[in-house]
């Protein structure tokens, strides 16, 4: 085989491989020129070009059933902001396009609110909450009498996060387990002194971490530590 034969063979292979992108017009000038010159002298490639152009037309003409973007966007919003979806928000979404349902819900809502208001005195003495006093921070608590218990935090992973990845995340924040996971999947861990803020920032930045909160001690409450 002569040098020119080898060169021609290589050019043919190169041009053949580039044909699809010659068809879609994405080749740069040098590549396009190479294919143009080769097509002028190669019947095989011209035939292949015709076939591929037809196939490209079939692919471009193929229609697919459209999927509702509005519905999809509403679904992904639920994942982004699940904590902000209050009962009122869900009711609003449901009745947005159904005015008669909206009117009915206003009437129902007013009746329910009135019932709850009248029943409030009966709910006052239903018993002590199961959560021990001082274990959780309440809205009425101020920072003055709050302490973070020994650089301890609670976290909960998404169920889609594999165990191996969970362990990697815990290693990243140098966390040591204080207790085993609760039935609800909440872990209590301790991080090195001075690293709590950075650990919380890292955890809250991870999409697979559903919850990350320090464990507070409320010195004001009775029975607190």
């Amino acid at each position: 085989m002569t040098h020119s034969d080898t060169h021609a063979y290589t050019t043919h292979d190169t041009a053949t491989m580039l044909l699809p992108w010659y068809i879609n017009g994405s080749l740069d000038c040098e590549q396009q020129e190479l294919v143009d010159e080769h097509l002028a002298v190669c019947l095989t490639c011209r035939s292949e070009l015709h076939t591929q152009r037809r196939i490209a037309q079939l692919v471009q003409a193929r229609c697919d059933a459209s999927v509702g973007a509005e519905i999809g966007f509403a679904e992904v919003c639920k994942r982004i902001r699940p904590a902000h979806r209050t009962l009122l928000g869900r009711v609003r979404d449901l009745s947005r396009n159904t005015p008669h349902i909206q009117a009915g819900m206003w009437v129902s809502g007013a009746a329910i609110a009135a019932s709850i208001f009248m029943a409030l005195p009966l709910l006052h003495d239903l018993g002590e909450p199961a959560i021990a006093p001082g274990e959780y921070r309440t809205l009425s608590a101020t920072d003055d009498h709050l302490d973070i218990r020994e650089n301890t935090l609670r976290l909960m992973f998404s169920t889609s996060i594999a165990d191996g990845i969970q362990q990697d995340i815990l290693r990243e924040i140098n966390a040591v387990a204080v207790s085993s996971a609760s039935p609800g999947g909440v872990l209590t861990v301790r991080v090195p002194a001075g690293e709590l803020d950075s650990a919380l920032a890292l955890l809250r930045n991870r999409s697979g971490v559903r919850l990350a909160e320090p464990v507070y001690i409320n010195h004001e409450s009775t029975g607190g530590d």
């Binding site: 068809i23 879609n24 692919v59 697919d64 973007a69 966007f73």
Partner: protein, 197 residues
């Protein structure tokens, strides 16, 4: 090419630049920007995922998984590729993982993602199927998901093989080779129809 008014001067912005602007705003947790990007990409990603998987089940879930990642990882988009390349890359990986999980549940070999379906019928039977089904859908369904992805990205989305290699995270020569095998198979199946026209 769209025109966006910026201050007193009108600027002409390409689609890629628009997407990059939206990603910058999404990084700042702007929901309106996210909604715009979602609607710009929803139909494109739907078609790509349906085409890659060869069926439309779970497409909604996959699209939402993709856009959820876009929302959470907008800060990690480093502008070294086009926004569309970055987003399609996420979609391809999600589709691939879904395919692998589905195949595992059916106890099928995990190599099925890059294996074309062998035609088991005669040419006459194939032509009968063409009369019943859309020609292109029939042809594409015989390809592996990886081959289908290359064909779609090339012929429908008009992408260069360099961009496709970034999306599929494989060498450029691998993209060319996959396309070569895919088009040979497609040509053999579509030849009667092409000759008729």
């Amino acid at each position: 090419m769209a025109r966006i008014e910026t201050g007193n001067d009108a600027a002409t912005v390409t689609a890629d630049e628009q997407d990059a602007i939206l990603l910058g705003r999404i990084e700042k947790q702007e929901m309106a920007a996210f909604e715009s990007l979602y609607k710009r990409y929803h139909s494109k990603l739907s078609r790509f995922v349906v085409s890659t998987l060869g069926q439309s089940n779970q497409v909604d879930e996959i699209i939402n998984d993709v856009m959820y990642v876009v929302w959470n990882k907008a800060a990690s988009y480093n502008r070294q590729c086009k926004p569309s390349t970055w987003i399609f890359g996420i979609a391809y990986n999600k589709a691939r993982k879904y395919f692998t999980t589905a195949e595992q549940q059916r106890n099928v070999s995990l190599s099925g993602f890059d294996v074309d379906v062998e035609s088991t019928g005669t040419q006459a039977q194939w032509m009968e199927q063409l009369e019943r089904d859309d020609l292109c859908t029939s042809i594409l369904s015989s390809l592996s998901p990886e081959h289908r992805a290359v064909v779609e990205l090339t012929y429908f989305y008009g992408m260069h093989y360099r961009e496709i290699s970034q999306i599929m995270e494989c060498p450029e020569n691998t993209v060319k080779t996959r396309m070569f095998h895919a088009r040979k198979r497609m040509a053999s199946l579509a030849q009667p129809e092409i000759n008729r026209n």
